[in-house]
Every structure is written in structure tokens, then in C-alpha cells.
């Protein structure tokens, strides 16, 4: 039985070996055929990601890469550079010859004419060489824009607009702050209030203003909650006193002292005998606060 199997294996092995050799030869030959195919000569151009916008008079760098030339020998290649406008009209052209051995890579700087109007342009490069079979061209788009003070016009307008807007905002804000500060430091006038009541309007108003300069609009909010006192919630001006003014002064001072932990002092705008007499109830109430509410 073993003998029969050995004979059969020998019979199968020989044709398989021959087939394997033939397949290997075929694959090797195919590679040789592919490798022997003529290479396509290529050209690549671009701005080399250096610039996409230039001003007239500036240099536009064109990165050129020539591939698969020469097959081991030097070949003279004519390169034509052209700049075309949006209507595909050539506005600039230049040529040069470069010697290429298989591959060449270089950067060509083209000076943009000073009289070239702003707009979108195409930089086109074309190669010509002896024995050329297929034409090779390469293009990329760029734009030309004039500069003001070293900045492109569009950027100049953008930066200028932003600067002007920031300036206007700053000026408006400054004016508001100055106006607000002025309103806080300028005492309100009460010449329209009868003389016997005016003193209390002035004192209450000055207390609010004094506290507002330290603590801001919270001072107005606190004053607005005092029963019997009506004030302008924007500027703290006293509009009406509906209760005993001496009581309102005391309540206001107590509220401020409690809220801000700051001792309040006030002085009337005038210090004549009549004023002192009118202020006596206020002083009395402040004595009560001092005695019973200042722990």
C-alpha cells in the first residue's frame, strides 16, 4: 500500500514543480514589461504655500518641480511662465531654459508689474523640450492687491474699521463713565424746594451721593426702600419727602451703616443758626442710633 502511494506522489510532484517555475517566470516577465514602459514626464507648480496674494512690484514665488526627465542624461527644458487675468488674457510672460537630469526642483520669483490692476490672476507654467510627446502645463490661482502703508488695501480697510469701531466704543464708554462720575460728584440743586424743606432734601441727597461714590448704585437701591422717601432711581435725586425728614435721615444713615459697615458723617451745605435749629431733631435721632443701634 505504501509503495503505491509513493509512486503516485512522484507522479504528481513533477508537473506541479514545472507549473510553479512557469508561473514564477511569467510574473517576473510581467514586472520587466511594466518597468520597461516609458515614464510620463510631469511638471508641478504652485506658490509653495508661501503667498496667495501679492502687491504690484512684489515678487510672486513659483515653486517648480520637474519629474521624470533625462533618463540619466541632461535635457534642456524651456519653461514659459505666464500670468493671465480673469479674462484669460496674458498680462505677463517670461521664459527660461533649465537643464534637468531626471528631476529638478526650484523656486522662480516673478516680479508683478507695477501697473497690474487688483484682481484674481492665474500663474501658468508650460514646459517644452526636445523629443516631447505630451504637453505639460501647470497652473495655480493668486490675487493681486495694492498696499497702503505696507498693508493690503482689504486688510487696511478691515483693521481701520475695527480700530475706528473700538475707538468709538471706547470714546462712548469713557464719556458715559465721566458723565456718571460727574453725576455722582455734582450735588443736586433744590432751589425749587421751599427753604424750610430744602435743607433736608440737600442733606438726604448728599448722604446718598456720598455713599454712591463709595458703593455705587446699591446706595440708590437702599435709599429707594426707605419708607416716605421718593428718589430718582437713576441719579439719586430726592423727589419727595413724605414723612418726618429727621426720621428719614436717621433711617438712611442706619441702613447705610448696616449695609456697608461704614460710619456715616454728614454736614449741611450751610451752617447758620436757622440750619442748626432745624437739624436738632436729626441729631437727636442720630443719638438714638448711636446709643441703641451701634453695638
Amino acid at each position: 500500500m505504501k509503495m503505491i502511494l509513493k509512486k503516485n506522489l512522484r507522479k504528481i510532484k513533477l508537473p506541479a514543480l514545472v507549473s510553479l517555475v512557469l508561473i514564477t517566470l511569467a510574473i517576473w516577465c510581467n514586472f520587466q514589461i511594466l518597468a520597461a514602459e516609458p515614464k510620463t514626464n510631469e511638471m508641478e507648480t504652485g506658490s509653495g504655500r508661501l503667498v496667495s496674494k501679492v502687491a504690484p512690484g512684489e515678487f510672486l514665488p513659483i515653486s517648480v518641480k520637474l519629474i521624470n526627465f533625462g533618463e540619466g542624461r541632461r535635457v534642456d527644458v524651456d519653461v514659459d511662465y505666464q500670468i493671465l487675468n480673469s479674462n484669460n488674457v496674458v498680462v505677463f510672460s517670461q521664459s527660461e531654459t533649465v537643464a534637468v537630469e531626471t528631476t529638478a526642483s526650484f523656486v522662480k520669483n516673478i516680479q508683478i508689474p507695477l501697473d497690474l490692476p487688483s484682481g484674481k490672476y492665474i500663474a501658468s507654467s508650460k514646459i517644452t523640450y526636445e523629443g516631447q510627446e505630451v504637453p505639460a502645463t501647470s497652473k495655480f490661482e493668486f490675487s493681486v492687491e495694492r498696499k497702503i502703508a505696507g498693508i493690503f488695501v482689504s486688510q487696511f480697510i478691515l483693521y481701520g474699521t475695527v480700530t475706528i469701531l473700538v475707538g468709538i466704543a471706547f470714546a462712548v464708554l469713557s464719556r458715559l463713565i465721566i458723565k456718571r462720575r460727574a453725576s455722582r460728584s455734582n450735588p443736586h440743586e433744590y432751589s425749587d424746594v421751599p427753604k424750610e424743606e430744602r435743607l433736608f432734601y440737600e442733606i438726604i441727597s448728599d448722604i446718598i451721593m456720598q455713599m454712591r461714590s463709595h458703593k455705587g448704585d446699591q446706595a440708590i437701591q437702599i435709599a429707594g426702600k426707605i419708607d416716605g422717601l421718593v428718589i430718582n432711581e437713576e441719579n439719586g435725586r430726592v423727589l419727595k419727602i413724605n414723612k418726618d425728614p429727621a426720621e428719614i435721615v436717621a433711617l438712611l444713615i442706619l441702613q447705610y451703616q448696616k449695609s456697608f459697615g461704614k460710619k456715616m458723617v454728614f454736614s449741611p451745605r450751610e451752617s447758620d443758626k436757622e440750619t442748626k435749629e432745624l437739624l436738632r431733631p436729626v441729631e437727636k435721632n442720630l443719638d438714638i442710633i448711636k446709643k441703641y443701634f451701634n453695638k
Partner: protein
């Protein structure tokens, strides 16, 4: 029962009077200042309750208490102290403990107040 309301503010006096009369049938007198209150108490005799404001122009409510303590006829009149000042606060209560006025002050009521709160305090002090 006789109650004396003492406050320099006419509106407050009217509110106090109307509030009490709407709920309790008491005899109510009014004084628009500390001096007048002392004078009325001495002249009219016994009051069952003094509803007394603190901040008044010439003599404050607490000064009235001080003077009442010194007077044999007035030193037993109970006082309900009222004020827009934070008299219900702990700091005022603690502060008041240091002074003899506390002997008279039976309760305190902060302005603005609710009528029911006022009536309840009055009833609690002088009885129904």
C-alpha cells in the same frame, strides 16, 4: 380701657387709631409728641397702654420712657414701642437690656406693620 397713641406723624397716628378701633372697643387718646404725651398722662390720669414712637422731634420715645420711670404716677404704664427703626432686631433688644427703659417696654412693633399684628400685641399687653 384707655390707650394713648404718641407719634409726631399724623398719618401713622390715624392708621394706628383706625386699626385699633376696627378691632377693639378702647378709648383712644392722641399726643403728637413726647412733651404732650407726658402732659396728658399727668393730667388725664391712668392709661392702660402707651403706644409710643421712638423718633420724635423734641423728646424721643425712649426719653419719654426715661422720664416716666422717674415719675411715681407714670412708672407702671406699659409701653408698646413702635418705630421704623429695626427695633425687633436682636441687636436692639440686647442693647435695650442695658437701659432702665426696658422696665416699661412690654413689646415692640416695627413700621410698617400689619393691623392684626398690632391688635394681637395690644391685646397681649392689656388683656382682652
Amino acid at each position: 380701657m384707655k390707650v394713648l397713641i404718641v407719634d409726631n406723624d399724623e398719618n401713622t397716628v390715624e392708621v394706628l387709631k383706625a386699626s385699633l378701633l376696627s378691632k377693639i372697643d378702647y378709648e383712644i387718646d392722641i399726643a403728637y409728641g413726647g412733651e404732650k404725651a407726658l402732659e396728658m398722662m399727668k393730667k388725664n390720669g391712668h392709661y392702660d397702654l402707651l403706644i409710643l414712637d421712638i423718633m420724635m422731634p423734641k423728646i424721643s420715645g425712649l426719653d419719654v420712657c426715661d422720664l416716666m420711670i422717674k415719675d411715681e404716677k407714670l412708672k407702671n404704664i406699659p409701653v408698646l414701642l413702635i418705630s421704623a427703626l429695626p427695633i425687633a432686631s436682636t441687636s436692639f433688644q440686647e442693647s435695650l437690656e442695658k437701659f432702665k427703659e426696658l422696665k416699661l417696654i412690654k413689646d415692640v412693633l416695627e413700621k410698617p406693620f400689619e393691623i392684626d399684628n398690632l391688635v394681637n400685641k395690644v391685646k397681649a399687653i392689656i388683656g382682652k
